[in-house]
Subunit: 136 residues, 2 copies
DNA sequence: TTTTATAATCGTAATCATTCTTATTTACAA
DNA sequence: TTGTAAATAAGAATGATTACGATTATAAAA
């Protein structure tokens, strides 16, 4: 999901193009990791001095709703990242924040274990230290 | 982990017995589910009218630290439940909040998949509707 | 190009969960 | 019974997030 794909999806749904929206997508495309709303605000202020919290949050959740970003709770704060094309989960480095795909999803086995339950969603996250931070 | 076990562990570590602490443990022992700090406060006010937020949070995190309770983030709010004796994960019903053990943990396969990573923790939660709520 | 409708944004106040601070009370060991 | 550290109450402070009225910008129509 690159910047252009995100913008295309946005406009196809009738939302308007703005430079801020493009820059938000650029921000998330530059690195494979989660960022908080505050992280994004800090970066955006460099090029858009008067951008407001409202714009940050409104667009973050718009992108989540359009399946362009995904969101998770990391110690009580919402964090966002580019949505991956195929379903998978992430290892998250607690030191640098970088994420790495885990190509292993246990949900199908769980469905078998819970025959009378209706399963809507699941979350699987692994936390620790990445090789780079470990050797530093 | 019943009420008496929790209190024993508490006192063995040098913390004092209080009726409030006992009642907090009773609250979590009565049902197999997560409750928020606010849920607990509401219930505690029935028998301890002037109990404060501070007492609620201080004891919740004390119990987490002593491995008597476990904590998770459910849509931006911390929720707590009795810690299970053996490691496992939970299905959480989005309608009634009840939880059910999942006897399946994928972490060992993940460790194999990430040889140069140091893994400290992981979270696996499954969300949906339990059989009781589904048929209602 | 100009006009128009409405989507998007700004600036700031409000809200909500959580944490902190200070004074007071309580548990329990001596 | 008394002394002392732990525990608590009350409420202020904090920090993330949401809400809101006024203003500005986008995109489509004239």
């Amino acid at each position: 999901m690159n910047v252009q794909h995100g913008l295309d999806r946005l406009m196809k749904k009738g939302y308007k193009y703005t430079k801020k929206r493009e820059d938000i997508l650029r921000y998330f495309n530059q690195e494979n990791r989660y960022w908080s709303a505050k992280d994004l605000l800090r970066s955006m202020r460099a090029s858009h001095e008067s951008i407001s919290f409202d714009t940050i949050y409104r667009n973050l959740y718009l992108f989540v709703q359009l399946d362009i970003l995904e969101v998770t709770d990391l110690n009580g704060e919402k964090h966002f990242r580019i949505k991956c094309d195929k379903h998978h989960h992430h290892f998250i480095c607690l030191m640098c924040g970088i994420t790495k795909e885990i190509n292993l999803c246990p949900i199908h086995d769980v469905i078998k274990e819970l025959p009378h339950y209706f399963i809507e969603d699941h979350k699987f996250e692994v936390y620790g230290t990445c090789p780079t931070c470990k050797s530093a």
